[in-house]
Symmetry: C3
Subunit: 275 residues, 3 copies
């Protein structure tokens, strides 16, 4: 795939320290006209699953030939391998700790390369900041048109990561909260297709903590202000929201412990009463 | 106006979620060499007036032909129209909810276009994220040189928004706090011209909460450390500050409720005593 | 040095207000194809030493010919001079308040220019925002290839700034915490070379507050989870960290007052007991 010259960055580094700036400098020192886009630098420290989930939903909006650098890397400096994932459309650079597993699983013709050729790295590689010293310059070289196959051997055993999947039990569908967004909306791992198959012929009823919500809306503004609603978010996942309010403060659960909490979807009975 | 290839973004999305990154991807997927600049993503959720105020003060610093995308959009997915505002120098893309009204009022030859031509949108438009699905790709096409008039019909009834204006009463000038900045400075809606006309022939005295400030300074550092002062900010608005301190914590008002609070300007009497 | 077309920005402005966006607009209005990179906008308000420390560690990662704009400027509008520092590889623009002193000291052939030629500024220069009105447009002109020597006279008395240096006393090495990063790691001003000379022939023992740490590791992950460790960070400074935890919460010191606190390094005695 021909490089687009665009590099995205996602890390758990925050924006207070100069770490992200150093990575951008290292990319631009290799390929001075790279166009660098931040996806987020506020991944929870070391939470690989959160980064994997966000990356999977975000990368398709970028043009073909984009290099995605993702650094959530609690094992930096240990034996964990630095890798490059090549799919038909995109390139991904980061540590081999499961970050890219959902994409590897979804793209059957993907190739994973163990980055071993140090001529693509900074001259001095620290033990604690491979984002700057390995992944950033590799991304710069990929933008320059370097051949991924020159960067190391193909491997067939990348680290796997299982994101939690929704499941059915006793006539209900169970999922979990995977993200709380800036607006306090609760994003679940339940997709439109999961729920559509499940609730055919009955209106869905969604429960999370103290909230019980009937029906699925299409917009926030169609519900009275301050009332809770369920809808499919812009990535096709079931979301619990409050019109002009924050759902995270309305479930009766500890807001700091909302991620991972169970969401149950049932079918309303024909007589309109709750199951 | 010839496109500059520059797109600015202002939203209330914050930087934690991938929403801003998705918008950038959608712009770059249309026009891969767009140069994208963030103005702010920390507009208070749904507060259209704050975004309108900041946009009006910021856009003139950008070059001619810049596309400004502003998304504070509590009515996303409802009947509110997506619009494009074309002035002699700049282009503005966002929801028709008043965001652009101060600019429309100020630029008499401005044209407003209702964005109806879905060939300029992403192929699948969600109900909840028009920033990514409509506004971002439209901005990309504008950078590419697409003709605004091909994007939909001209309309003459954009939603109006009245920002609060200062007024005079009983020998005093009354305005309000419209923004508290990162340094704790209080920015008012009183412009240099409002106050200069008003206080000709007498020294101004500014009151906000418990603070009473005599005279208007030109710099922060001209006042003793930790003391309050008034000055005109870099956009020509009256500002209350504390040298090497935070004015927001010194008014005796609840810091969280400072926006919207009244500021009174009087003239000192000739004998130097307060009015 | 030939301009790279890249401009870095570091300020204490935060990202909530439009100030950084205005600066970017002012740069792009001079040089529309400038590539602008944020190093950090979260320098503590007015803390020149923090910005100087970060700049010195970050700028070398950028390509030759990069213009670095640094604005931590409590004396804006007073007699303090706006300056341009030219080294063999990089250009630096900002206020003459010590920000660039560590770089001036380290680069013996550096030249400092007092920015006096107002044709390189915005037409109207405010008293309170030289970042936008002077430094940003000067950076744009430097990207365009303007000659630094046309921008004002060379000066030989830039303001000096002494960053705290580690010192030895009574058989121990004393330094201090200069930064707490996003992960809660404590970065000291003790460099690898300071400690290697000092501890030759004995294992180092590091003390900060209640923590006493033996030995220096090479990675975070080599220490049991939740345990404290010392290592050299990616810039070669001694760092105190906790594997999968936050060192700043583990010293027994007030986290808000950790910066500036003393760090002591001793040598373990040959019998392995503490000194």
């Amino acid at each position: 795939v021909k490089p687009s010259g665009i590099v995205t960055l996602m890390t758990d580094f925050g924006l207070r320290d100069p770490y992200v700036g150093m990575m951008k400098g290292a990319i631009l020192s290799v390929h001075g006209t790279a166009r660098i886009v931040d996806i987020s630098h506020h991944i929870a420290a070391g939470v690989i699953g959160q980064a994997a989930h966000i990356l999977q939903q975000t990368y398709p909006y970028f043009p073909k030939g984009t290099v995605h650098v993702t650094v959530v890397d609690p094992g930096v400096g240990t034996e964990r391998r630095p890798i490059l994932l090549v799919t038909r459309m995109h390139l991904f650079v980061g540590p081999d700790n499961g970050l890219f597993w959902p994409i590897i699983e979804a793209c059957k013709d993907a190739e994973v390369i163990h980055l071993t050729e140090s001529r693509y790295f900074l001259r001095r590689v620290s033990e604690t900041f491979h984002g700057r010293d390995i992944f950033a310059p590799v991304a710069g070289h990929l933008c320059q048109g370097a051949d991924p196959l020159d960067m190391g051997p193909v491997i067939h055993d990348p680290v796997q990561l299982k994101l939690p999947e929704p499941y059915r039990k006793a006539g209900s569908l169970y999922g979990q909260i995977v993200r709380v967004d800036h607006f306090g909306n609760l994003i679940t791992n339940i997709r439109r297709r999961d729920i559509e198959g499940f609730t055919a012929g009955g209106r869905p009823v969604v429960r999370i903590g103290d909230l019980l919500i009937e029906g699925i809306q299409t917009t926030y503004a169609g519900t009275p202000e301050r009332e809770a609603l369920a809808l499919f978010d812009s990535s096709g996942h079931l979301e619990i929201a409050v019109n002009s309010g924050r759902a995270v403060d309305r479930t009766g659960l500890d807001p700091a412990l909302t991620i991972g909490r169970e969401v149950m979807v049932s079918r309303a009975r024909d007589d309109g009463r709750q199951p």
